[in-house]
Symmetry: C2
Subunit: 300 residues, 2 copies
């Protein structure tokens, strides 16, 4: 098989695009996709201060690297969630990359700084660890971005993630989720920083190729709490469809963004207040992060 761009020997085939690339042309394709996504969706410009959310996994490492190489003004942020060895190893990966490339990195540790323990909180509150973790991450990334004058938060969500989330939202017809799902979550309040997903058209596999070809170290294992999550089942089902009919996943997601999403509207305009404890935006008296912190203080 030959590279469709330079006609040299191809090493990577992308069935859904009916394309094959040599290593160099794949990286060209990859960068182009990211740049196109950023520009087409007006995610950010060269003078925007971008906070990149990194976990040590292939997706966020690829995002971090490509944004740096393309000359965007980025600072990475990592949260140590205190999930045993998984968290320690991922922090190491992220710190090594920052050091090696002399890149700015903000590190937060929820156990040391806030005394939060996801496992304990999950048990006490009878909520899934992923839901507790999501609350904490959303809060901290937004807070750091707001406090330090970032204009946008970028995450490594890929095509597989987005298609799986969409399938879940569709199976349950969550109208307000459908209204909000997309590569850009605009700023709806001065204290809620805009969020973007520059890799939303690139698959897990393509992000994997990107980090491998660039010899970027990353953590192969998934978060131990994610085992058995519904999203993994959805990914498997979409992979079965993709196998039978390459392009299904992209058609499903892009079709939604172009033809489906416009039909859904956020069900109601919920009034936003400021948290009585920390001042963050919330819909209740006290924000969910501050409530977690209180529960945490009570049980420990």
């Amino acid at each position: 098989m030959k590279c469709i761009r330079c006609k040299k020997k191809a090493v990577i085939t992308l069935k859904r695009h009916n394309a094959a690339f040599c290593a160099e042309c794949f990286l060209h394709y990859y960068r182009n996709q990211v740049l196109k996504n950023i520009q087409k969706n007006k995610m950010f410009k060269k003078d925007d201060k971008v906070l990149v959310v990194v976990s040590g996994g292939k997706d966020s490492m690829a995002l971090w690297d490509v944004l740096v190489k393309e000359g965007y003004n980025v600072v990475a942020m990592y949260i140590n969630l205190g999930i045993g060895e998984y968290s320690n190893r991922s922090q190491e990966v992220v710190e090594n990359f920052a050091k090696k490339n002399n890149l700015p990195l903000i590190v937060k540790n929820i156990k040391e700084e806030f005394g939060l323990d996801i496992y304990k909180l999950s048990k006490t509150l009878k909520r899934s660890p992923c839901s507790v973790c999501g609350t904490i991450k959303r809060y901290l990334f937004n807070k750091v971005a707001y406090d330090n004058g970032f204009s946008v938060i970028a995450t490594g969500h890929n095509l597989d993630d987005e298609a799986a989330t969409l399938l879940g939202n569709i199976l349950n017809w969550g109208e307000s989720y459908l209204a909000r799902q997309g590569p850009v979550l605009p700023q709806t309040h001065p204290k809620l920083i805009k969020k973007v997903k520059p890799l939303y058209t690139l698959t897990e596999k393509e992000n994997m190729y990107y980090v491998l070809l660039n010899k970027i170290e990353f953590l192969h294992e998934e978060c131990p709490y994610s085992v058995g999550a519904r999203s993994i089942l959805y990914k498997e089902l979409l992979n079965e469809l993709e196998e039978k009919s390459p392009g299904t996943k992209q058609r499903f997601l892009i079709g939604f963004l172009e033809k489906g999403k416009k039909h859904f509207k956020e069900v109601e305009n919920i009034e936003l207040k400021e948290c009585k404890t920390c001042g963050h935006v919330t819909t209740t008296e006290e924000c969910s992060f501050c409530r977690l912190t209180k529960v945490s203080n009570t049980v420990s």
Copy 2:
């Protein structure tokens, strides 16, 4: 396990309803579902002349039987599609049931009456057999209903069929298909008879129980042309989801009908004409059935 209605020993469990029934109470539940579907969706009344589409399979046999027993004014119609032994055996099943219960039945044979051969047409036109078959069936059921003053056509589509079709329409974001999908396809032209699906909330398995408990003969095999059809893959995937989380299929379909469908509108109002050959409603000069007949005359 005990029957949730009469507390006798249960023989059937319906996980998605968190219910178990004895044989008698299952039939009570089944009939109630059908009646509720008919009334809630204003499908037809006791004085409507209903044409029931029968194929000899469990779904349409269940529908035929339940509508007769509930005292609706129904006539069944069967089309022999000339698909070898499959068609012969299914015609026998349908004729036996009509004879045994002294029920009116209209039988059409596309090879004998119209010289149509699905396999040949499919090869000549490079269309799938299912697509050719669909054109023929839609035309003939509608024509017979119109010519004989029926007010509605009822088909045996079940929850599994409808959820699989919905998944296909969603994966491709077929907006006009989404706008039309539902248990009732209203009459949009005097020559296009209203179509309804009274079994749309009942699963394949429940229709199977119904025919078994009522000792109704039916054809177990599927149409040989349906093997490998996309719809079968969609059913399998939905069954995997249902297995992990009972109720998913129903939530998906009913959620769409209640919350999703309203957002989609038929993309354009296509002008309807009358076919220059047969007078049937069409969007082109000559209807697709008459064109099939011409192709058929040319190749044979």
